[in-house]
Structures are given as C-alpha cells and as structure tokens.
C-alpha cells in the first residue's frame, strides 16, 4: 500500500515537471490542446468544433467559470473558451492570465423563450426595439462596460415590486459579470437591468431565478420561467428548441483565456 502511494506521488510530481512544451501563439494551436468551457455555453460548442473527434479526450466542461479558470491556473487545461467580457474581468482580477488576441468567433446575445410563446416574444421585441431607439439599452451597457460597476447596488435596480400584472420569471446564471452577478441577496448586471425594464413595460414584477447555465433551457421549456436571459448566444441548434428575441448584443467575441506565461504574442 505504501509503495502504491509513493508511486502515485512520484507520478504526480513528474506530471508537474513535464507539463507544457511550446508556448501558445495562435488559436490554431488550440486544436490539439486540453480545453475547458462552462457546461452548456457556446464556448463548449466552439471548443467541440475546434477539437473535432478529439473532444472526448481533450475537452473538460465545468459547471462554473471559476472552476474552469482554477483548472487553467493549475495547468490541468491549456485554455478556457469563453465570452470576452467575463474573460476580461478574470484578467483584471486574477494574476497570471491573458486573452489570446485573435477572437474565435463573434456571437449575438438574445433572450430565450419557450418554443411557440410568440406573444411574449413579440411583446419583448417591441420593448427591446424601443429601448434601442431611445438609448435606454445603450445607457445600461455604458454603465457596466465603460465604467466601474462595483458601485452599482442591487437596491438601485427597480424590480417593479408589487406590480398588478403578476411576476415575470427570468432564469439566469449569476456568475457572468458584467451581464449578471449576485451580490448579497440581490442581482446586478446588464441583463438584470434590461429585464427589469422589460418587466416594468409589461406591468409585471421581475423575479430572477438563479440556476446553473445548463439548466436554463430546461427551465424555460418546462415553464419554470417565462424567459431566460444570461448572455445567451443564438445558435441554429438552440433555435430548434427555443424561440429567441431580437439580438440585444451583437459582436460579442468568444476568446481563449490562457495563462500569461504560456502566451507568446
């Protein structure tokens, strides 16, 4: 038994010593590297495309971004495929990380609905186009993307409490700043403020239901929530299973988050 553990220890030490050869220069190199993504996100789809038939061997999916980034820092994986905005936050707040300059894809975000819920989709689309036209949406984006949103408090967002029209249930995964983030008992973020505005226009109170990202499609198709809003990328595959609103973000880059010392620009 002791010998077994000793062997295990030696193997573990060896694997530390012989990690990684060549540094990463180009995103093409990622095709043969160990990658990670948050489960159910478009990052996972992109990683699967990159790796092809090697995905079973090389792709690890995690429930939370924090887990994926921890694995990255420990050298268990070579890159995390994720949205640029949250990736930037990791680079700013965690030591030793970098984003590969060349983005993998550019995506659009939209709100997801149960397949066939056309009434709500058209109502939300109307409100979204109004928000785009009168600058409300741009103002919300500017608050988070250009400025420092650490001063935004959940209490500042008007959830339209006690509205006569009932509640608008919105599913999200609040670990995706600046789009949604849980602070104390409340939520902040671009999606949250946008949904608060939509709920108000619908005469409803906003109820945020915080769940895992890969549970969101189930939640909206079973009717647990009215819509899901979590920086959700529109893909053809997803369109088969749910309806989407018009895009509210376009050109959202998907990038590879890697270790800074592993990057050769």
């Amino acid at each position: 038994m002791k010998k077994f553990f000793a062997l295990l220890l030696v193997l573990a030490l060896c694997s530390c010593a012989f990690a990684d050869g060549e540094k990463l220069k180009d995103t093409d190199q990622l095709k043969t590297e160990r990658l990670a993504a948050q489960r159910g996100t478009v990052g996972q789809l992109i990683a699967e495309d990159l790796l092809g038939d090697k995905k079973a061997e090389l792709l690890t999916t995690y429930e939370k971004y924090v887990d994926a980034v921890a694995a990255l820092r420990q050298g268990k994986i070579r890159a995390v495929i994720m949205d640029e905005m949250p990736a930037k936050r990791f680079v700013n707040e965690v030591d030793g990380l970098a984003i590969m300059e060349k983005p993998l894809t550019e995506e659009s975000y939209a709100i997801g609905f149960k397949k066939g819920n056309t009434e709500l989709v058209s109502q939300v689309n109307k409100i979204l186009s109004e928000m785009k036209a009168d600058g409300t949406l741009a103002a919300i984006m500017a608050k988070y993307i250009d400025g420092d949103y650490s001063s935004v408090k959940p209490a500042d967002i008007d959830f339209n409490k006690g509205a006569k029209g009932g509640k608008l249930y919105v599913g999200t995964e609040a670990g995706f700043a600046p789009y949604e983030l849980k602070i104390g008992n409340g939520f902040i973020g671009i999606d949250v403020e946008m949904c608060a505005h939509i709920a108000k226009k619908l005469g409803k109170e906003l109820a945020i239901i915080n769940m895992n990202f890969d549970s969101l499609p189930t939640a909206v198709s079973t009717g647990k929530v009215d819509m899901i809003c979590a920086g959700i990328t529109v893909t053809d595959e997803r369109k088969e299973n749910m309806d989407f609103s018009d895009n509210y973000v376009t050109g959202a880059k998907q990038v590879a988050l890697i270790r800074a010392d592993d990057y050769e620009k």
Partner: protein
C-alpha cells in the same frame, strides 16, 4: 505514518512560501475580499440558514414517511393483511433508494413541479430530500425492529397483549435504542446531501460559496470556508449522537 505525511505537508507549505509575511498579507487581503468586504459573510450566513431549514424540514418528512413505511412492512410480515400497501412500500423504497438524490431533485423541480412558480423552491427541495430520506429511514426502522428477538413478541402475545400494543410497549422501546444513532447518522448525511440544492437554484451554503467565488473570482478560500462550516456542524452533531447513545444505553451493562 500520519505524522510523516503531516511533516511532509508542512515542509511543502514552508517551501512554497506559505509562512512568509507576504503570503500572510495576501491571505488576509483575500480573506477580506471574500468574507468581510460588503458584508459578504452574510451570503454564507443566509446560505447556512437555507441549508439548516432544508435539513430540518426534510428530517421531519423523512421520519414521518419512514415510520409509516416501516410500520407497513413490519406489520405485513407480522401477519396483518395489507398486501397492496406492502407492495407500495416496497416499490417506494426500491425506487427512491435506487436513484440518485440529485436526479430525484431535478425531476421534482423540473418535471413534477414544472408549473409551480410562485412556490418557494426550498419547499420542493424539502419534499425531494424528505421523501428520499424517508426510504432510508424506513429501512433503518425496519432493521431496528427486526433486530429485536422474535421471542419478545411471542412472549408479549402469549401474555395476552394485542399485536399493536406489544409493538408499542415491548418491541418499539427496545428498537428505538438501536435505531436512534443510525437515524442521526442519516440526518448528518442529509445535511451534507442538501449541498446539491444549488442545481435547482437554491442558494444553500455550498451555492453561497460559489456565489462568492463568482463575485471575487477566487477559488479556494470560499470553498474551504464552506467545508469548514459543514465540518463543524457535522462534528457537533456527531458529538450529540455519542452523548445520546450513552444516555440511551444507561442501565445497560
């Protein structure tokens, strides 16, 4: 053996600069970020509340369901003619013990209670955990009752007691003594099992730690803190079980 491992770990920590002043100030800074700033520890306190609430609720449901099921099964074996109820109890125990608690939780939330939106999700979790626990508790009770020598029942019946009152006055008091420690262990397991409640969107203790992770982007500290809180609760409960066991076996040699 243990102290060699301990010494080796200490050496590794020392080597990696764990005991330097910088490491400590870094530790303190991260500790402040994770738990002190903006009263973030309150997220853990709220999570703990939720965990305890779910455990307590599920415990109550578990005991009631378990008791009913075990009574059905034991009574059927003892000659009371309730074949349909007994079959139901058997199936219940097979299904709920034969599937993972997490799968059950997801089915309760997304399939059975799909349209219940105004209902507090915690109640769904309590129901799911409680009914799951009930299946285990039933087997614990049944084992406890069957551990009593059948001679006891025969003696009671021959003294003219009915089946029901020999159960109540002779068998159950003795069975209880064997059952209570196992029952408490089941609830300690339940306390830890509620950590999967995050999957249906409940901010329990584990999920609260993950929420702090998402806020501060720091991985280890919130999780270790959550682990310590669970460990303290389990240790306190285990101590209580020990005490209870001693109290129950008083007068026994």
């Amino acid at each position: 053996m243990l102290w060699i491992v301990g010494a080796f770990l200490l050496y590794l920590l020392w080597e990696s600069g764990f005991f330097t002043a910088e490491a400590w100030s870094d530790f303190n800074r991260r500790f402040y970020q994770n738990f002190v700033k903006d009263d973030r520890y309150m997220m853990l306190v709220d999570g703990l509340n939720s965990t305890l609430f779910m455990t307590a609720g599920a415990t109550v449901i578990g005991v009631v369901v378990g008791l009913i099921l075990s009574v059905i099964r034991v009574a059927y074996k003892g000659g009371v003619h309730i074949p349909i109820l007994n079959k139901f109890a058997e199936m219940y125990i097979t299904v709920l013990r034969g599937t993972p608690a997490m799968v059950q939780l997801l089915i309760w939330n997304f399939t059975i209670f799909a349209s219940a939106r105004d209902l507090n999700t915690q109640y769904i979790a309590i129901l799911a955990f409680g009914l799951n626990s009930g299946a285990y508790v039933a087997e614990i009770f049944r084992g406890g009752i069957e551990s009593i020598d059948p001679g006891q029942m025969e003696a009671a019946r021959s003294l003219g007691l009915t089946y029901g009152s020999s159960m109540r006055h002779v068998i159950l008091p003795q069975a209880l003594r064997n059952v209570v420690p196992m029952l408490f262990n089941e609830f300690i397991a339940l306390l830890k099992e509620t950590s999967i409640a995050g999957y249906i969107g409940i901010d329990d203790l584990t999920r609260a730690g993950q929420n702090i992770q998402a806020l501060t982007l720091e991985h280890s500290q919130p999780l270790v803190m959550v682990a310590i809180i669970y460990l303290i609760m389990v240790m306190v409960l285990s101590k209580l079980v020990k005490k209870l066991e001693q109290w129950l076996s008083r007068g026994r040699r």
